[in-house]
């Protein structure tokens, strides 16, 4: 294991970098997109509800690899050229955002109904009440499941390997097939994934304790 790491540290660190970059981008955008669709799902407007539900159901129920391949192979053929890293990150964002939407929606719905009524009776509009009263409480409730989604997101970023996104998994495949030392190549990469995901889950636990 040490051997593989010292020989290929450059390649592995590059992989780690791309994995982290893709995860951070996907995390940021999927949180925003997910929250938007969560609000749409429970909006008073019927059209918004339908759009929100459709989005969530489509991206939650298609395998991540299919979404990614679509962006890697189909879109460039007909629309615009996107490289493997971008295709993978887009796929990851869309896929994760559907799960985040469901998580955030459950959070919003678990905030007591009186909160909304109270906010409205002080003269806030629906959207103001949502923004200042409901969402802050909802996010506190959903920190543990959100943490799950974030960890899943980092692990799912290995989909980049299939579209030449230069991430950790891609480097692992490449190293394993040049050295034929399959066991150690994947062990090293497993440990590198842990280096990203363990602090992330501890940070989420910490947030949970601090805020809840």
């Amino acid at each position: 294991m040490i051997n593989i790491f010292s020989h290929f540290s450059n390649q592995l660190l590059v992989g780690l970098g791309w994995t982290v970059l893709s995860s951070v981008i996907a995390l940021f955008f999927s949180l925003i997109i997910g929250t938007i669709f969560a609000i749409m799902e429970i909006a008073p407007n019927k059209t918004l509800q339908v759009v929100g539900r459709a989005y969530v159901e489509i991206f939650r129920n298609i395998p991540l690899l299919v979404i990614t391949m679509f962006f890697y192979l189909v879109i460039p053929m007909y629309v615009v050229k996107i490289n493997g890293f971008t295709a993978g990150t887009i796929g990851l964002t869309l896929y994760t955002s559907a799960f985040i939407a469901e998580t955030v929606r459950s959070g919003i719905q678990s905030v007591a109904g009186g909160q909304m009524e109270g906010a409205r009776s002080t003269g806030m509009t629906y959207w103001q009440a949502m923004r200042y009263i409901i969402l802050p409480q909802a996010f506190k409730i959903v920190i543990p499941p959100l943490g799950n989604q974030f960890v899943n997101l980092v692990k799912n970023s290995s989909v980049l390997a299939f579209v030449a996104g230069f991430d950790l998994m891609y480097q692992a495949n490449s190293i394993a097939s040049t050295t034929f030392d399959t066991i150690n190549s994947y062990l090293v990469v497993g440990v590198l994934y842990l280096i990203i995901t363990l602090p992330l889950s501890y940070y989420m636990q910490h947030l949970e304790k601090k805020l809840a």
Binding site: Y72, L73, V74, P76, M77, K81, N83, G84, F162, V163, A164, Y170, N173, S174, A176, S177, T178, F180, T182, I183, L187
Partner: protein, 271 residues
């Protein structure tokens, strides 16, 4: 927490290692296949002309597959059975080392790096690396690749070769040839590189593309077996030699490569 974590990782690695600890080099593959009267072969499933799964009946078909059947017949006699497992460039060495297959005949070039972990028979086919590009591509030879994106396949030595002849080319590695071809069609790269035999197969399936630039390496394909299986390697060598003498080898070459436009199949004839 820390203690638990280390205990867990220790256990996990232990489990992994015991799974791989079974030493196959102690058993003779030749004796095993003679006892079961079956040789299990690792072949390609996505390479036209060499090993391609026919969607109609799910069988692998191609030059490699026919060679495997003929070699099986020569080693085990007419009743010998050949079983086929589909492998990719990436999975063929691990499958062989795990003992999932007895031998691999899957467009595999004999290279010094591979010889460190597995053994090869003598070459049964002489390929060379070349380029597949769209018909309107400005790329005419390997020299034009600098600054361009080249698509290769994980586990194929063609990727390392390109880095040698065109150091400024950007190389991306995909999972198998079908996916690499799709990526080329989606303009994810400017050229697809691998051995000419495989590329001609792809060109037959995809009329908008052609093989260009001649060959810039020599890639002798060998039958791969586990390290130390000299008995089996010698049996394979003998079988291939017999096929060359009785003309069966040339018949197979003509059967698979005779109709490929632009491929000088007669140069491959052996006596």
């Amino acid at each position: 927490m820390k203690k638990k974590f280390w205990l867990f990782s220790l256990l996990a690695s232990l489990l992994l290692l015991t799974g791989c600890g079974r030493s196959l080099s102690d058993q003779s593959v030749l004796d095993n296949v003679k006892r079961t009267n079956t040789i299990s072969w690792g072949v390609k499933g996505d390479v036209k002309l060499f090993g391609l799964i026919d969607v109609k009946d799910g069988q692998q078909k191609g030059f490699d597959v026919d060679m495997a059947k003929a070699i099986t017949r020569h080693i085990l006699g007419p009743t010998g059975k050949a079983e086929f497992t589909t492998t990719t460039s990436q999975s063929r060495v691990p499958l062989l080392k795990n003992g999932n297959v007895d031998a691999v005949i899957a467009t595999m070039s004999i290279t010094p790096e591979r010889k460190k972990v597995i053994s090869f028979s003598k070459s049964y086919f002489d390929a060379g690396q070349s380029l597949l590009v769209p018909k309107n591509s400005p790329i005419h030879s390997v020299k034009d690749l600098n600054g361009k994106t080249v698509i290769g396949v994980v586990g194929a030595n063609s990727v390392a070769n390109v880095k040698k002849v065109a150091p400024k080319a950007r190389v991306i590695e995909l999972q198998d040839y079908a996916q690499a071809m799709n990526a080329l069609k989606s303009h994810q790269g400017d050229a697809l590189t691998t051995d000419n035999g495989i590329l001609f197969g792809l060109a037959v399936q995809n009329p908008g593309f052609q093989v260009r630039g001649g060959t810039f390496t020599v890639e002798p394909y060998g039958v791969a077996v586990n390290k130390g299986q000299t008995g089996f390697t010698e049996a394979v060598d003998k079988a291939v030699l017999e096929m060359q003498h009785d003309g069966e080898y040339n018949r197979l070459i003509k059967k698979w490569f005779g109709d490929v436009p632009g491929f000088k199949y007669k140069e491959l004839y052996r006596k």
